[in-house]
Amino acid sequence: MILTQEQQAILNGEKGETLAKVMKTLVMYGDAFGAEKLVPITSKYNHLVTSFGLKVMSPVYDLMQQLLDAGVFSGQKFSVDPRPLDKNVPANFLQNFVFKNFMYTKQEFYEGQLQKLGLLDDDAFTCTCYMDEVGNKPEEGEVLSWAESSAVVYANSVLGARCNRNSGIIDIMGSIVGYVPYFGLLTDEGRKATWVVRVETSKMPEAQLLGSAIGMKVMEDVPYIIGLDRFIGTELDGKTTAYLKDFGAATASNGAVGLYHIANLTPEAKRLGESLIVEGAKEYVIDDAELARVQAEYPVMWKKEDATPNLCFVGCPHLSYEQLVEWTVNIEKGLQESGKKKVQIPTVLTAAPKVLEAFNASEYAPRLKATGVITSYICPLMYMNNPLCKKMPVITSSNKLRTYTTARYYRSEEILEIITKGAK
């Protein structure tokens, strides 16, 4: 890798040993991909994936402390993934005890570290930092040092920014030195599609099921998706971007997709069309039968397969304002049809703190509350990530949550049916 004089001086230790190690990390990381240079980060803000003060992750906090002790700070302010705890979310005495006394004992300490390192503000905890209400929304072509798989794939695909699937810690190291290695999704070549996916379903496919199918098939490759615009249109409005958020999260967690192109919709596909597809690209056809096959093959991790669900999470990744409104209306309608007043299973809708703030100021908030649904800023994945929750029959419309936990996946219409009419 060819470094500038300034970069070489940092690597040589002229600005301290710790900064030299940060630079060495980025250079070795870039070398693994044949990167020939480091390029400046051009986004206003960064986004970090590590939001949780898990006792077991002590090596991460030790490393962060090394940075702080050496006076090494992020050059950018940043948002960070959701908090792992929220008292609004149902938890029994034992769960609360385990959360507070065994698992998340480092939460306060780590949040203190984040503040010193450059946290945007106390509400900047969400995986959907690109929501207008949150304000960390990069422009097309900007170079990022983000982590969080669902945010990276959204920034690349929907916003047209340029970011590799950086790991936690690498994310902040980029913004400490102000540069990232130039490879992969930062390059024009790396943004070309090596798969053509043809969507031939009879109706609009569920975003998180379609994303799962594509992620498992293409792994880390870039897919060019044809036929989806028939259902979701050719404009990036609120409904469509919410769909793409959920779709992308599933491609990234069930596979390793960092960028997708949707014909006639996403910015690069609109501008460059099928010239984005490399010669000899592989093909994957998705029809109703294929989606049914994918969903049927998800393993059921509950102890009793026919257990009655006792908790439902919707919002991994966090919901948009429009989605909160849509769920409110649909739940009201479902309850009306079933002749019930409240949801039949404790249900939590999650969204960014600032999105919730806007929602709570709307006419929909009291209507949703009246149905018995709880709203929260929590990370459902972190909530579920322990043996106590492992035993719980939790349902979700999130394919990401399904992947990492024992939560059982259902399509949104199935979730709606279960929570408003009761489980059979």
Partner: protein, 147 residues
Amino acid sequence: MKQFQGRVITPGQVSAPAVVTTEGFNTLASFQMALQFGDKEVKCGDQNNRDLFGKPMIGKALCLPQTIGSTTGGLVLYCACAMHKNPACMLFSGPIDSLAAAGAVLADVWVDGVTMPVVDSLGDEFLAYVKDGMQITVKEGGIVEVE
């Protein structure tokens, strides 16, 4: 014995029995429960990985195509190394992905006293040949011997 030539991501020499997956290795899903709750064998917790689910990973030569999933993957791998709960080595049939590379590099630069050699680009034949339990030796220069 069969020899394969790969590319060194992080150096080191080691000999260990293989555990093999031909599916993407989801680092967070595989390690999270084992690291959090002190599983000494560090059994793979990824329900979606039909090859590895429930199998011990600590001290094994982990043979895989690539890692997938959450971008916490690299720091999870880094933590596994810092806690001495890492595989003996990671051997990739194809080019390494950004999350595995980050984890390998972070461990190499920031963790003292732990060596986890990582070699990539060993070829599809490597993954077709190697089976669970086969003894693997990682030598200098990206040479991997499978007995």
